[in-house]
């Protein structure tokens, strides 16, 4: 780990790192020039496929494979949506890239659009990133001036326009089909798939949705090659044909109870403990970690005993977490009560559920009411089983909802209750000595409805 040189964050911290001048001084836009001069779009798709790059937005889908799902010889237009809605609690790596190195993001975006035959890019930018808006728009303007955007880019015959589309503070707009609906001017209700966006996306046209960090990786794959990218990270397990490996550098976000929170770049596959100890300089106040969120709040919980789990695309599932997610680690020290973590998580998902699927809308709302009641000292042991049942039955994994928000709501419930059951039972017994054994229906007035 010591000899690893940051690539994605290489320019961060340099003076005026967000300007085209500084970006070009450090070799920026050379990859774009070379790609446009020497490669066909199909060759770029093959290059990205060969690199093993998997999407950084949460689902980890192989990027080159996604691009190859676009229909061949479509009359167009094809759209490319850059997902800059970054709203998963704990996550801020896209913000760092856009604020400090927007040209790196744009170079990757232009190369990706070229590869996919897109003529228009919409950058879906969350409302709460005003500095990103400013820096991105400046960078876009600079690109038009330099001929990296607009008609006939660098004489290649390829033309591209990039527009920023501002969100309005709704987490669900990060889900790729919610994002598409939101661009179309509708409420951001995720779509039932298929059809997938590659076939029928925004305005009914073939569409690719990729995360900001994903396209930043594309910039470096184009510059340094697929072999270089594949030399970093964790190779695919040869005994598991379904493992697509965890290649390349990754931006890990670290927050919560650590001495040095921040965004750190490391090869995919460092362990949670390495991240906390090496980069975060340990748990704050000389305390010990009790648990950690491994990849944004949707991914569930690692216990203190599970902190040696590698943060890659395949290891987290082995300890019961949902996955790597956004690789945003949130550390909780020994003073944190699991019931408070659960309350925070349930409140988030109840607030952000788009309400379209009944299991998600009702499940997240009732989970919050029950957790809130437990927290106020009116819990019953049977509530834990009810919560677990909600956790086990909402989401695309059990097959009851349209999008993955419900899985994200389910995992914190499932992990907390299975991994910290004793603590939760003790809490219920201690705070509700008269009623913890009851199992009759709970009167509605014991549920507060305001959160």
């Amino acid at each position: 780990m010591a000899e690893f040189e940051p690539v994605l964050l290489a320019n961060v911290g340099k003076q005026e790192s967000w300007t085209r001048r500084v970006y070009e001084q450090n070799g920026g836009y050379q990859a774009l020039r070379r790609v446009l001069k020497t490669m066909t779009p199909q060759e770029v798709v093959e290059l990205v496929k060969a690199s093993g790059l998997r999407g950084r937005g949460g689902a980890g889908f192989p990027t080159g494979v996604k691009w190859s799902f676009l229909p061949k010889d479509h009359p167009g237009p094809v759209y490319f949506c850059l997902n800059a809605d970054e709203s998963e609690p704990g996550t801020f790596n896209n913000r760092i890239l856009m604020e400090h190195d927007p040209h790196q993001v744009l170079e990757g975006t232009i190369i990706s659009a070229y590869a996919t035959g897109a003529s228009v890019v919409y950058i879906y930018l969350r409302y709460e990133y005003p500095l990103c808006l400013k820096r991105l728009q400046q960078a876009i303007d600079e690109c038009y001036e330099a001929g990296y955007l607009g008609r006939d880019i660098l004489g290649s015959g390829f033309s591209l326009d990039v527009y920023i589309h501002r969100g309005a503070a709704a987490y669900i707009c990060g889900e790729e089909t919610g994002l598409i609906e939101s661009i179309e001017g509708k409420r951001a209700w995720p779509r039932i798939k298929p059809p997938f966006p590659a076939v029928q996306g925004v305005f009914g046209k073939p569409t690719v949705v990729n995360n900001v960090e994903t396209v930043a990786c594309v910039t470096h794959i184009a510059a340094r090659g697929a072999e270089w990218f594949k030399s970093i990270g964790v190779p695919a397990d040869p005994n598991n044909p379904r493992d697509a490996g965890s290649y390349g550098p990754k931006l890990y976000c670290l927050s919560g109870h650590v001495n040095r929170p921040g965004c750190y770049e490391a090869p995919l596959g460092i362990t949670c403990r390495e991240l906390i100890e090496h980069f975060g300089q340990g748990v704050w106040k000389g305390r010990r970690a009790k648990a950690a969120i491994p990849g944004g709040i949707s991914m569930g919980l690692l216990t203190a005993q599970e902190l040696d789990t590698p943060l890659d695309f395949s290891s987290l599932q082995k300890v019961g977490c949902l996955g790597l997610g956004t690789a945003a680690v949130v550390v909780m020290d020994e003073t944190v009560r699991i019931i408070d973590y659960l309350y925070n998580s349930c409140r988030f998902f109840a607030h952000e559920s788009c309400g379209q699927c009944t299991p998600c809308r009702e499940g997240t709302a009732w989970a919050l009411r029950i957790v809130d009641r437990i927290r106020r000292g009116r819990g019953r042991l049977v509530d834990l089983d009810i919560l677990l049942e909600i956790g086990n039955t909402i989401g695309i994994i059990p097959g009851t909802t349209i999008c993955g928000l419900a899985d994200g709501a389910a995992w914190p419930l499932k992990n907390a209750i299975t991994k910290f059951r004793q603590e939760l039972e003790d809490f219920i017994r201690r705070t509700n000595p008269q009623g913890y054994m009851q199992s009759d229906p709970v009167p509605l007035e014991l549920h507060t409805l305001e959160h």
Binding site: P77, E86, S87, E88, P89, G90, T91, F92, N94, R95, R126, Y127, E128, Y129, P130, L131, D161, Y163, H165, R166, G167, A168, A169, A170, Y171, S182, I183, E184, G185, K186, R187, A188, F203, C253, L254, S255, G256, H257, P261, G262, C263, I293, I297, A328, V330, M332, V336, D340, Y341, N344, S345, R347, F348, H351, E352, C354
Partner: protein
């Protein structure tokens, strides 16, 4: 109407020519008019600090949509206010996990107490609308607050007091630190 007089019931128009031009400037970016809904709402909201029902009518006219369709989209996002304009400054205090672990909820509660309002409300002098936010994407600076376009990092209750003071907003309860 036929004699050229404006009927009494006709509500005053709220979109200025400037706003209309701004909204029209988005037309060429999208293949449909409906896609300009969110940009149009943002334009109006930036100028007026709310989107009154009359503005919805006028946006719908510009975009050639039924007003209900614009209203449907607007109401999906809790972001756009229709009851009253927001304060001169709109501030969001993060309540999500990384901030909550470092005192975000206490920070919000502290500000609410000092102002005598609940999250989502505006101070009586119209200077500040205080809201909770879910993760602001600045978790390394927890607990944090976005006030207008400015991110306030690693906030203490003293920082919050100084912020309120800088706005000259009316405070109903002295903070403990000033007693």
């Amino acid at each position: 109407m036929s004699n050229g007089k404006v009927s009494q019931e006709q509500p005053a128009r709220v979109l200025t020519p400037e706003m209309i031009d701004e909204i029209r400037s988005y037309f060429s970016r999208y293949p449909t008019r409906q896609a300009v809904t969110l940009p149009a709402l943002h334009v109006v909201n930036r100028h007026l600090r709310w989107v009154p029902p009359q503005a919805v009518e006028e946006i719908a006219q510009l975009l050639e949509l039924p007003p209900a369709q614009v209203q449907d989209t607007l109401s999906f996002y809790g972001f756009f206010r229709q009851d009253a304009p927001c304060g001169q400054v709109r501030a969001w205090v993060c309540r999500s996990i990384s901030c909550a672990l470092r005192g975000g909820e206490e920070l919000l509660e502290h500000m609410c107490r000092r102002l005598g309002i609940r999250p989502g409300q505006t101070t009586p002098d119209g200077k500040l609308t205080l809201e909770f936010a879910e993760c602001l994407g600045a978790c390394e600076y927890a607990p944090c607050m976005l006030a207008g376009e400015e991110l306030h990092k690693c906030m203490t209750t003293e920082d919050a007091d100084r912020f309120l003071e800088s706005l000259g907003v009316q405070v109903v309860q002295e903070s403990a630190s000033q007693k």
